[in-house]
Amino acid sequence: MVRVRLVNVTKKFGDVVAVNNVSFEVKEGELFTLLGPSGCGKTTTLRLIAGFYKPDSGEIYFDDELVNDLPPYKRNTGMVFQNYALWPHMRVFDNVAYGLKLRNWPPRKIIRRVKEMLNLVGLAGKEKRYPSELSGGEQQRVALARALVIEPRVLLLDEPLSNLDAKLRVRMRSEIRKLQKKLGITTIYVTHDQEEALSISDRIAVMNKGKILQIGDPIEIYENPRDIFVADFIGTTNFIPARVVEFDKNAKKITIKIDDQKIVKDYYGHAEVGIDVIIAIRPESLDIVSLSEKPASKPFIVGKIDLIDFLGKIIRYEIETEFGLIKVDTSEKSLREKFKEGDKVVIVIDPESIRIFTKLSAYSLN
């Protein structure tokens, strides 16, 4: 098991900067996820670690060994490709045994080891099948077994679940998680699915446009997004424009105004009186009440229910307001009887759960 360390790594394709000055360190035995939309550079980063690309600048270390110039076939990483890349002309056994044969293992040991590995991923007895005779989930396990069997220094998973159906995806991700913990193998996981990332990772790096925006554990990423993009990409977030009316640098208190309601909040960043800010708030942190129940102490926004969306556990209300559509989630079944589509309601904001972003950064909210 190794630590993987990237220092100021940049990779360009022509004029496009795919990976822009990226640095991070993956600890031994950790499951580290690169999360971001397609084209954000996460797969390129993974391929840089696997050695399929050379960085234009920056260094990649396995422990303290600089691997920049090490070709992929010498890095001893185990990679699982998005499409599994199972060799169609080889049986399951030969697919898994491939790496061991290359390492000149004696045949008898190979047989035993492959068997062990297939048992571990739950594919005992399928040695003689061809990949085309397996289901999607089974193909995925073969790919995983093939990568793990060589006891790689680091396991690289490139969107391994994206070709599976929703149910299987959830099952496989917990299996991968358990397997990874059991083997204690350093793992780098690439996905665009934020729910998957939150559920499986020890730590997450959120990427956009070749840059890492935030690194943290799942709870931190979800509850404390440091960037407006992260706030928007992880989960669902409402954005409401506001303006700074008072800022006390010493007391770290900020007062902002939505419409003509004031909100006072602790604020550790930098701000100036008079600038526009965006406040972000999760749908589950909002409440709705009828017009007659307008709260006296909390800020609120008036709107009209545009859509009631029953999502199983929760009900999502999409409410038309002067700030655009605002989504409110509630699990209170009683509200179902209370409001209909078209009703005028009041959205109550809890000042504790809002986050304030002063800069739009590179990201635009449309």
């Binding site: 992929p72 790496g99 290359l102």
Partner: protein
């Protein structure tokens, strides 16, 4: 039980409804079936049956006659060896060529990718003609080796002759006709190259990256992953090369190497018209049919493999292209240059001979002239005219049949469409000799179809059947790109399927059909084996027949005027292929694939 019954009713209802609504389509399908049956399936079948018919009823006697003659046995061995070795040599050229041109990027790549395809614009027997003055007994190679560098004592005919591989017994010696292997290698390696290149560029890059990730590299990577994945393409090309060489008539005739199965069939043809059909011909026909079926079967198996290679998709595709440098780059250029020169040598030889006045014991002709063309053109004119008429009609038939067959198969209009597809593809694998022989077996003395009295009709039919796969494939390729929803929209608005086909599908398909038609046309133009087998007299003969039996037979300057006719051929084909390429573009390669 009930479920099964209700399905039956469904099927019946579907069938009757379809028949009532789409009588025309059904009728056309019926005609296509009859045509394919009469002119492709039955002739093959006739040979298979006649091989067993003897004066004493059905028996293996014909096979015993064939096998007890050591000359026939040796011809069988020689033919087999020629085919086998040609597959080996073309593979040794075609596979590295595909790898280089698909995986490497270097200056001049596009130039070479065109140049290495040049053999395709040469009818094989014309290529052999062009090599006369290069590798023949008085050819340039001998002048260099004997007269200039004194490496050899006396000249060798590189085109004619064989070498003993091994002897099974005193009467069973296995010879390799190296001249035939050489000529066919230079002509056929593009088939291996095109098929391998197609397979190679279809390989999902991640399959090779995964192997690298696990520690594989270099030749190990090629052997364990890359080559197995391109094997379907290689197999398809190898099948074409094998069958072609195994049944090729033109090349052995031109180099005067007669101990080949195809030549035996050809020389025994007169026995049929003499009312005494040779049992040996049908035995040879039987062997050839079985050979092509076996190879076709093998390749089909691999083609199904090719399908499941494509099954894996998704993920990003990073094309694996390297820029070679240093020694590697020099080797690449060396390989490509020597290959291109070899591939061009028949063309160079042909051109030089065609324009030469006198060419004896010198490296290039001493004097150039247009005399050969002036002399031969009036003689060849009626034959060329007939060739054009036959080939044109054949191409038109192919376009009509091809359009409907591809439509029926691709839109799955009828049960058994796959079978129609298989039969229509059969001519790619079944040699021309079989068609010629089969037509004699089936249509001799049949009104309107008898090769003896109705040569033009049966010849045209044989051309169109032989080249049917080209239009079927071109049309099929086009249909795959036409969204079925376009047709459904038309049917939804009330048009019948027939009307939809005419108004919507056909106009979108016209360019593909035209391109396929051109390919059918030029291939009919250069058809040798069926022509030689079906044509008996000058009166109805096309150009290839004239070239061999009249021009080349001219005692005074046969080679020169035959080369002049050959040169005209090459020009016509080059123009036609250029037009086709403009239309089909990158899809052109698919026409030469199995």
């Amino acid at each position: 039980m009930f479920h099964w019954l209700s399905r039956m009713i469904d099927l019946k209802e579907l069938f009757t409804r379809r028949f009532l609504e789409e009588k025309n389509i059904t009728l056309i399908a019926l005609i296509i079936n009859i045509v394919l049956l009469a002119f492709i399936v039955l002739p093959i079948f006739a040979i298979l049956v006649k091989a067993f018919i003897t004066t004493r009823g059905i028996s293996l006697e014909n096979f015993i006659i064939f096998w007890s003659n050591s000359y026939y046995r040796e011809a069988l061995y020689a033919t087999f060896m020629a085919a086998l070795f040609t597959v080996i040599t073309t593979s040794f050229i075609g596979i590295p060529l595909a790898y280089i041109l698909v995986r490497y990027d270097f200056p001049g790549k596009n130039f070479f990718s065109v140049l290495v395809l040049v053999p395709l614009i040469m009818p094989p027997f014309v290529g052999a003609l062009g090599l006369y003055k290069i590798l023949g007994i008085s050819g340039v190679m001998n002048i260099i080796l004997v007269n200039m560098f004194h490496i050899l004592d006396k000249p060798i005919n590189f085109l004619y002759g064989d070498m003993l591989l091994f002897a099974l017994s005193d009467y069973d010696k296995i010879y390799l006709p190296y001249g035939i292997v050489l000529i066919n290698t230079l002509h056929l390696y593009p088939l291996i190259y095109l098929n391998c290149a197609a397979s190679l560029s279809n390989i999902d890059p991640s399959l090779e990256e995964q192997a690298e990730n696990l520690g594989s590299r270099g030749f190990h990577l090629f052997r364990t992953v890359t080559f197995p994945l391109m094997r379907p393409g290689w197999m398809a090309g190898a099948v074409l090369v094998f069958i072609w060489t195994f049944s090729d008539l033109g090349t052995p005739l031109i180099v005067h190497y007669f101990k080949m199965l195809s030549v035996i069939v050809f020389f025994k043809l007169y026995e049929i018209t003499a009312g005494n059909p040779s049992p040996v011909s049908y035995v040879i026909g039987f062997i050839m049919v079985i050979m092509s079926f076996i190879t076709l079967f093998i390749s089909r198996k691999y083609i199904s493999l090719r399908k499941y290679v494509m099954l894996f998709s998704g993920g990003r595709q990073v094309r694996r292209i390297h820029k070679p440098s240093g020694v590697k780059l020099i080797l690449v250029y060396l390989f490509l240059t020597s290959l291109s020169l070899s591939a061009l040598s028949p063309h160079i030889g042909l051109t030089l001979v065609a324009f030469s006045k006198r060419w004896v014991l010198t490296l290039i002709p001493e004097e150039f002239t247009l005399d050969n063309f002036v002399y031969v053109t009036p003689l060849a004119a009626p034959f060329i005219f007939r060739s054009f008429i036959y080939s044109l009609i054949a191409a038109v038939i192919d376009i009509a049949l091809g359009a409907f067959i591809a439509y029926i198969v691709s839109r799955k209009l009828f049960v058994g469409g796959d079978l129609i597809d298989l039969v229509a593809t059969l001519p790619l694998a079944v040699p021309g000799i079989i068609f010629g022989l089969g037509y004699w077996a089936l249509f001799y003395k049949v009104p309107l179809l008898d090769p003896l009295s109705y040569t033009p009709i049966i010849l045209t039919i044989s051309y169109s059947m032989r080249r049917l796969p080209y239009t079927v494939r071109a049309a099929y390729a086009g249909l795959l790109q036409i969204d079925e929803a376009l047709e459904e929209a038309s049917i939804n608005l009330g048009a019948t399927r027939m009307k939809t086909f005419r108004r919507i599908t056909l106009p979108l398909l016209v360019m593909n059909l035209f391109a396929g038609g051109i390919l059918s046309f030029i291939n009919a133009l250069i058809e040798v084996s069926t022509t030689f087998l079906l044509v008996v007299t000058d009166r109805y003969a096309p150009t290839t027949w004239f070239l061999y039996f009249r021009a080349l037979a001219d005692p005074r300057r046969g080679l020169a005027i035959a080369s002049a006719v050959g040169f005209l051929f090459v020009v016509i084909i080059a123009v036609a292929l250029f037009i086709t390429n403009k239309i089909l573009g990158s899809r052109m390669g698919s026409v030469f694939r199995l």
